[in-house]
């Protein structure tokens, strides 16, 4: 990489001493990006954007929030009612968490569909799963801070899960609580960690991006770049495409913030926490519902907790469960179908997680749980052996330049999204 020539003398002066402009030129301009990325590739930058939005609004909220069991609920209401534009900042933060998860879940399913976790991007994928875990911890603790009924009882239920660990479980739980129940020390430490973890996420995101830029983006065909004609510079092509996607995303996000700010929340969290009154249904935030359904599907507390964590842990070893050399589902006729079954399965789990554990819901929940693990632990390894993938195109340029060449059999909704 030859150092680029800058016209502006001040830029030259700075860059000679601190090569930030060379770095940006290298990572944005020279960085070769496949020319065929579709709109599903927008969600990575959207996730980065949401992380920044949450950190900025969170810092402002922290200036006005009081982490004490007697004042937390009222301080959040004070932010909504009396702090200038506090309602806006609070609703952005509250709905921002939900939309961060929407974006990240789509980002993850995109990676699963196009085999983005395969060699040489295994560490990139694993760092992504680490980010998701950190997000979950952060979101969980953030939900406790307003100290409403669901905050309190959600915290009680989830922290109590650790008591399932043999021998040391009870000790771990009182260590987490800082006492013998969810109380002021719990609120204080959750607040502290809720402020800390987002910056840890930023650190892992940096590693995620470094790993990404080492081998570049995967692409909808899942094949390597075969030369200059297959790639375009990230800037301006993908910056402008990301900005357009951002505009679309922000429009939808703002519809929720301004016109349905409580739609994704639970009414019970507008009741101040009361340790003596248990709500009839304790449900977590919607983005935890699939995992909550897995937890409840197993009639043993310890095994339920193990299964819930295993549901995430299985993602860590995904690159080694799916041994098929073909990345993109476009060329894997059976995998493409089981992918959509997995999506449906996760939606079913989410639905079951929101329902009371009774009647048919239990059976459906158990079936969906079994299928979730079967997808990763049975179906994927078997498909790696028995599936006959379709022939891959020689290069990204081929189907585009060839005009009449074999069109990628990528139908369905993924193909419909494609414009690039």
């Amino acid at each position: 990489m030859a150092a680029p020539k800058f016209d502006n003398p001040i830029v030259r002066w700075i860059d000679y001493r601190l090569p930030v402009f060379t770095f940006m030129h290298h990572e944005m301009h020279e960085y070769p990006t496949p020319k065929n990325l579709n709109y599903w590739w927008n969600f990575g930058s959207l996730a980065g954007f949401m992380l920044i939005v949450l950190i900025v609004t969170g810092i402002v909220l922290a200036m006005n929030y009081t982490p004490h069991v007697d004042h937390a609920f009222d301080s959040v209401e004070r932010i909504r009612r009396d702090v200038p534009f506090g309602w806006l900042v609070q609703f952005i933060h509250m709905n921002g968490a939900s939309f961060f998860f929407i974006v990240v879940y789509i980002h993850i399913f995109r990676g699963i569909y196009y085999g983005s976790y395969k060699s040489p991007r295994e560490i990139l994928w694993i760092l992504g799963v680490v980010i998701m875990l950190l997000m979950m911890a952060t979101a969980f603790m953030g939900y406790v801070l307003p100290w409403g009924q669901m905050s309190f009882w959600g915290a009680t239920v989830i922290t109590n899960l650790f008591s399932a660990i043999p021998l040391v479980g009870e000790h771990i739980v009182s260590w987490l609580w800082g006492g013998f129940a969810v109380d002021n020390p719990t609120l204080n430490r959750f607040y502290s960690l809720h402020y800390l973890l987002p910056f840890v996420i930023v650190g892992v995101v940096v590693l995620h991006v470094v790993a990404l830029h080492t081998h570049g983006s995967n692409n909808p065909l899942g094949i390597e770049l075969r030369g200059k004609q297959d790639s375009i510079p990230f800037h301006p092509y993908y910056t402008v495409k990301d900005f357009f996607g951002l505009g679309l995303f922000l429009t939808i996000f703002c519809l929720f913030v301004f016109f349905a700010p409580d739609y994704l929340g639970h009414p019970d969290n507008y009741v101040p926490a009361n340790p003596l009154v248990t709500p009839p249904h304790i449900v977590p935030e919607w983005y935890f519902l699939p995992f909550y359904a897995i937890l409840r599907a197993i009639p043993d507390k310890l095994l339920g907790v193990v299964a819930m964590f295993a549901a995430i842990a299985v993602l860590f070893i995904l690159p080694w469960l799916d041994r098929s050399p073909v990345r993109s589902a476009r060329f894997r006729p059976i995998y493409k179908q089981v992918f959509w079954l997995l999506v449906i399965d996760c939606l079913v789990l989410g639905y079951i997680g929101a329902k009371p554990a009774e009647g048919w819901y239990i059976h459906i929940g158990r079936l969906a749980t079994v299928y979730y693990f079967a997808h990763f632990l049975v179906i994927l390894p078997l498909l790696s052996v028995f599936e006959r993938p379709r022939p891959l195109p020689l290069s990204i340029g081929e189907p585009v330049l060839g005009g009449g060449g074999p069109s990628p059999p990528g139908g369905g909704s993924a193909g419909a999204m494609e414009r690039a």
């Binding site: 009222d74 209401e77 092509y237 679309l248 340790p275 249904h281 197993i298 009371p356």
Partner: protein
């Protein structure tokens, strides 16, 4: 008490382990009927006349038992009262303030910067005066009940005779929309219970709708700001996104 807390928490966790019939759905009443509210929709605003009538119902009926601790008397200017009228409302309340320079607590008339005075000094006093049941604070009632203002209006108008065979104790009333149907609040409204200043006939339904309207305001006084700003933001974003799409097409035209 700590032990009881842990016990309750453990019971909640055990509830997670799936046992058929362990949990039962709480919403066993009929769905509250959906009503037309002026604050619904993206251009929705509060109806000032309804808010003032609703405040009158709150002050003359509900406030006998229910607190509204998150509202200030200054909020009354947002429902259309003049500053002078809001000051009069505040001054009608007696605020315990202090200690003064002698170390004594004293009573003074309320100011705009005071919160609504609660009918009882604390929860235990409220329970003692209400047969053991605690009248909930109404500040966020329109947000913390599924159905919001529809639900409040439905409960206020949902009193009926209990069905055959349902035993009610002296302190309970039957309500079609209340979860479990046994509500500790006796029917609070009856026709012409208040006399509206604007001459609106004070039927039970009218009062229920008005006070629900006011409770929505109490739960989110900044709702109108939210809608107003939201419309502008969405228009801006639509235009911006359109421009960005045109820009994207232009930049990419060389690649396609």
């Amino acid at each position: 008490m700590r032990n009881r807390l842990i016990g309750a928490a453990l019971a909640a966790v055990r509830g997670l382990a799936v046992l058929p019939g362990a949990a039962s759905a709480a919403g066993d009443g009929p769905q509250p009927p959906e009503r037309e509210w002026s604050f619904n929709g993206i251009f929705g605003t509060f109806d000032r006349a309804a808010l003032q009538r609703g405040y009158q119902v709150y002050r003359e009926v509900c406030a006998a038992c229910h607190s509204m601790r998150l509202l200030y008397y200054r909020n009354l200017m947002q429902i259309g009262l003049s500053e002078a009228a809001a000051k009069v409302e505040a001054a009608n309340a007696f605020i315990v303030d202090g200690p003064d320079s002698e170390g004594e607590m004293f009573e003074r008339p309320g100011k705009l910067s005071d919160r609504f005075v609660s009918p009882f000094p604390n929860d235990n006093a409220a329970k003692a005066a209400n047969g053991g049941a605690l009248p909930p604070d109404l500040s966020l009632m329109a947000k913390n009940q599924a159905g919001g203002p529809d639900y409040i209006a439905a409960v206020l108008t949902g009193y009926a005779d209990p069905p055959e065979g349902m035993e009610m104790s002296d302190t309970q009333s039957y309500n079609m929309y209340y979860s479990g149907h046994r509500i500790a609040m006796p029917p609070p409204l009856s026709d012409d219970l208040v006399e509206y200043a604007d001459g609106t006939p004070a039927t039970v339904d009218q009062m229920a709708v008005d006070v629900s309207h006011f409770l929505m305001f109490a739960a989110e006084p900044q709702l109108e700001d939210r809608h107003r700003l939201g419309v502008k933001v969405i228009i801006f974003l639509l235009v911006l996104t359109g421009i960005l799409y045109a820009l994207k097409r232009k930049v990419w035209s060389a690649v396609h």
